[in-house]
């Protein structure tokens, strides 16, 4: 078995994604996806790639990073496939495999890091995190940030949740479960 197929089988098993094989390629998902025009592959095509074992190609696609979890596709899918859930799994797998990381991955990381640290999101922390990774992109957003600040829609002070120790325990447990699965 090639590495690609092994990776696919592992993906199916670990993330309970075998149901991707049930896809009848009807295109309901891509047709109902509000972000489909921005994706390299619609969910339908992505699934076609995955089940034939084109994992590298699938993991390098931007499809899952553009998924906004609106669940439009899941509601309509005639085979009852939890497409959105698989998009989450694919994001994890892509991050894990260190494939050519798109900007989106960095945005996701910029969200996650402050949460792990403070238990909640702070605007400035997200901006700073993303700014460090993509200074150019962040620079362009400065005018927007200023407007938000003027309207007091921006929080500068990083605040921590009350029971940060408890929160960290929760995260630890979650990470442990993740490792076990």
């Amino acid at each position: 078995m090639t590495n690609e197929l092994a990776l696919r089988d592992n993906f199916f098993k670990k993330y309970h994604a075998e149901e991707i094989q049930n896809c009848i390629q009807c295109g309901t998902c891509s047709g109902s996806c509000p972000l489909a025009p921005y994706m390299d592959y619609g969910p339908r095509q992505l699934f076609a790639l995955i089940r034939e074992g084109d994992m590298t190609e699938a993991l390098n696609a931007n499809t899952m990073w553009f998924c906004v979890s609106c669940y439009n596709c899941v509601v309509k899918c005639p085979r009852g496939i939890s497409i959105t859930d698989h998009m989450y799994s694919l994001k994890k797998l892509a991050a894990e495999k260190g494939v050519k990381a798109p900007k989106m991955l960095h945005l996701y990381r910029s969200f996650n890091t402050p949460i792990e640290k403070h238990g909640r999101l702070t605007d400035v922390a997200v901006m700073a995190g993303y700014g460090l990774r993509h200074p150019g992109a962040a620079f362009g957003n400065i005018p927007l940030g200023m407007k938000l600040a003027a309207k007091k829609r921006m929080e500068f002070k990083a605040r921590t949740v009350d029971n940060i120790a408890g929160f960290k325990k929760v995260m630890e447990k979650a990470n442990e479960l993740e490792r076990l699965s």
Binding site: I24, Q25, C26, C29, S30, G31, G42, C77
Partner: protein, 669 residues
């Protein structure tokens, strides 16, 4: 009632090389001869052949055998053959037992030694069992030659006509005021495009006029009791409020009736009156009053129809009637209804006036329909573009998982009709085109040549949101063109939803009454998906047409004729032998707990409240043994499978020692 000591003959079959290729048949037969009570043990090339059977017959006569064991194929295959041989030789056919050493041994066991051992074990079990067999006698009952057909669609009509032509009486029950079913709503039929009315109307008339058919329209089956050959059926005749003998069908009453109701026959696209006939060629042509919408029944005034009827046929005092009939067999042909697409909100059915279901579109195309056959929008304009969406409600886990089989073909028929009548562009949105039938694929090719747009993709939504100037005043159909990898937005004037088929409402009630089951989708379960497509597990009950699963007109007609053949074959036997291996209830032990009644799948057990016991109708009982296993008092005995027989067989199977001799003597004593 055991007679003298058992004298058993054991016959091991080679079945060519089917058995002897794996099992050492010599060893099995010589082993069998050492078993208790075995008088003679032989092996033979083909036991089922005439010389093979003769071997059994001769031994019974010459050696005075009174029990026979044949180790060969499965009882389903040849139990009857050998029972008959026993009978010919003069012993009770139930003194025979079969050991299955082909399907259960030679075909499935790899190792020859193990196979031989297993064959020996099975023979030992059969020998131990047959010693305990009892004499049983089967009973014979008369078959009533009348047939009941439930449902007057094309399948039911065809079945009724074939049986009636064969000289037997048919009761045809239809719940609507007219026969004809769904087919009478269609305009053209695929793939030949012949007119549905032209081919179905002669059938309607033939059914209406046939001397052997008693037509009971606007009636429903209320109760079915009895068993194969002798069913008692109660039929509820709903009041028409019009005397069928007097009504001439002139239609003056309909003309004068002031009350307007949305027509069920036109699926809500047109109005009918409160006194009406669904369509001009209806059979019978007797009008019917819809009491729910009749001004007289609701507000106690009007009676316009009565005033104008020259034949004086209106009878507001008609009451519901229960008619009892006796029949020997029943054909269930209740048909289908179309899936209601309202829950699929993304298609906007009910929200946008220009979204139609396929059955509505059939009515639009039909000359007797709301637009007299012209394809126009509700504003009366000719459409420039029409979208046809396949698989609405079908092949969808959220609705119906199955493929409805006919939608691809009728959708293409629509495409052709739209092109022909309006010249509009037609977009077929499909997942897969399914055209397995004579001339069907050719029809698909013809449609391609006609310039129909086939877009492979399931439509994700129909919307009136305007994205570009050409969307103005149109419905926009959004779908991924999966072959071009592109999401397309196509503005159209009309949208047709090719809705799937589902079982007609009320099918569960009918299935329950006649003692048959429906599958998880609601279709009737046939006896065997390949070899018994028209029979059911209940003897004397047959199925035809769409109630068994979606199918097109040719298949429905074929099934109607097939079911008629099955019913005629049953009738022409005249008498029916009832299997002796049935349950019996000992009234002394029964405490009337009725648990057996609950587990009986065939409805063979009934409760007698006078004696507080349950009773078995032997003609219905199939000998499945559910009741015997359930009975807490051991009051039920399944003949031919009683405890002695089963325990003896199990002892024989599991314990090699020859204890059966002692057991038998002890029990006999």
């Amino acid at each position: 009632m055991r007679e003298s000591k058992p004298k058993i003959g054991v016959y091991v079959c080679h079945c060519g090389t089917n058995i002897s290729g794996k099992v050492d048949v010599e060893a099995v037969s010589s082993y069998a001869s050492t078993l208790p009570h075995v008088e003679v043990a032989r092996n033979f090339k083909f036991m089922c052949s005439n010389p093979g059977q003769q071997l059994v017959i001769d031994d019974i006569k010459e050696k005075g055998l009174n029990r026979v064991v044949v180790a060969s194929c499965s009882p389903r295959m040849h139990e009857k053959t050998f029972r008959k041989a026993c009978q010919t030789a003069g012993i009770n056919p139930y003194y025979f037992q079969m050991a299955c050493i082909r399907e259960h041994v030679s075909w499935v066991t790899e190792d020859p030694e193990q196979a031989t051992q297993k064959a020996k074990d099975l023979v030992r079990g059969a020998v131990a069992r047959v010693a305990h067999h009892q004499q049983l006698a089967s009973r014979v009952v008369d078959i009533n030659p009348n047939v009941l057909v439930i449902g007057g669609g094309i399948a039911g009509m065809q079945a009724a006509l074939d049986i009636a032509d064969g000289g037997k009486k048919v009761f045809l029950v239809e719940k609507e005021p007219t026969i004809g079913g769904n087919m009478s709503k269609f305009d053209k039929t695929f793939p030949t495009l012949d007119c549905a009315a032209c081919i179905s109307t002669p059938k309607l008339v033939a059914v209406g006029q046939h001397e052997n058919i008693e037509l009971m329209t606007y009636s429903e089956v209320a109760d079915v009791s009895g068993f194969v050959g002798n069913f008692k059926v109660k039929i509820r005749k709903k009041p028409r409020y019009v005397d069928a003998d007097k009504c001439t069908g002139c239609g003056l009453c309909t003309e004068k009736c002031p009350s307007k109701v949305l027509s069920e026959f036109d699926h809500g696209l047109a109005y009918r009156k409160a006194i009406y006939s669904p369509f001009p060629q209806a059979v019978p042509n007797t009008r019917v009053i819809d009491a729910e919408h009749c001004i007289y029944f609701q507000k106690n005034r009007c009676r316009a129809c009565e005033k104008f009827c020259e034949a004086e046929a209106i009878d507001f005092d008609q009451k519901e009637e229960i008619v009892e009939i006796n029949v020997g067999s029943v054909i269930v042909a209740t048909g289908f209804e179309t899936f209601d697409p309202t829950p699929l909100t993304q298609y906007g059915f009910g929200r946008y006036p220009e979204v139609y279901t396929s059955i509505q579109f059939e009515r639009i195309n039909n000359a007797t329909g709301p637009t007299s056959g012209e394809i126009v929008t509700k504003d009366g304009k000719k459409p420039e573009a029409v979208a046809i969406i396949h698989c609405v409600g079908s092949r969808d886990q959220n609705h119906q998982k199955y493929c409805s089989r006919v939608c691809c073909m009728y959708s293409m028929k629509f495409a052709h009709l739209v092109r022909e009548k309006t010249g509009a562009e037609v977009y077929e949105f499909y997942i897969d085109i399914r055209s397995p039938g004579k001339g069907y694929e050719e029809f698909y090719n013809r449609l391609q040549e006609e310039g129909t747009h086939f877009i492979r993709g399931k439509v994700s939504q129909v919307t009136d949101i305007v994205d570009s100037p050409e969307d103005e005043g149109k419905l926009v159909v959004v779908a991924e063109d999966t072959l071009a990898h592109k999401v397309r937005r196509i503005p159209v004037d009309m949208v047709v939803l090719s809705v799937g088929l589902k079982p007609a409402s009320g099918i569960e009630d009918i299935a329950r009454m006649v003692g048959i089951s429906v599958d998880s989708d609601g279709w009737i379960n046939e006896l065997h998906p390949k070899l018994g497509p028209l029979a059911t597990p209940s003897d004397g009950i047959f199925v035809a047409g769409c109630c068994q699963g979606p199918k097109d007109i040719p298949d429905s007609v074929a099934q109607g004729q097939g079911a008629a053949g099955e019913a005629l074959s049953l009738i022409s036997r005249g008498k029916l032998e009832i299997e002796a291996a049935v349950s019996t209830i000992d009234p002394e032990r029964c405490m009337g707990c009725r648990q057996c009644e609950e587990v009986c799948f065939y409805g063979a057990i009934s409760y007698n409240p006078v004696l507080n016991v349950c009773e078995v109708n032997e003609a219905i009982c199939k000998g499945c043994g559910n009741c015997a296993a359930t009975c807490p008092n051991k009051a039920i005995e399944l003949r031919h499978f009683n405890n002695d027989e089963i325990l003896a067989e199990m002892e024989g199977l599991m314990f090699a020692p020859v204890d059966t001799e002692r057991n038998f003597n002890e029990k006999a004593a």
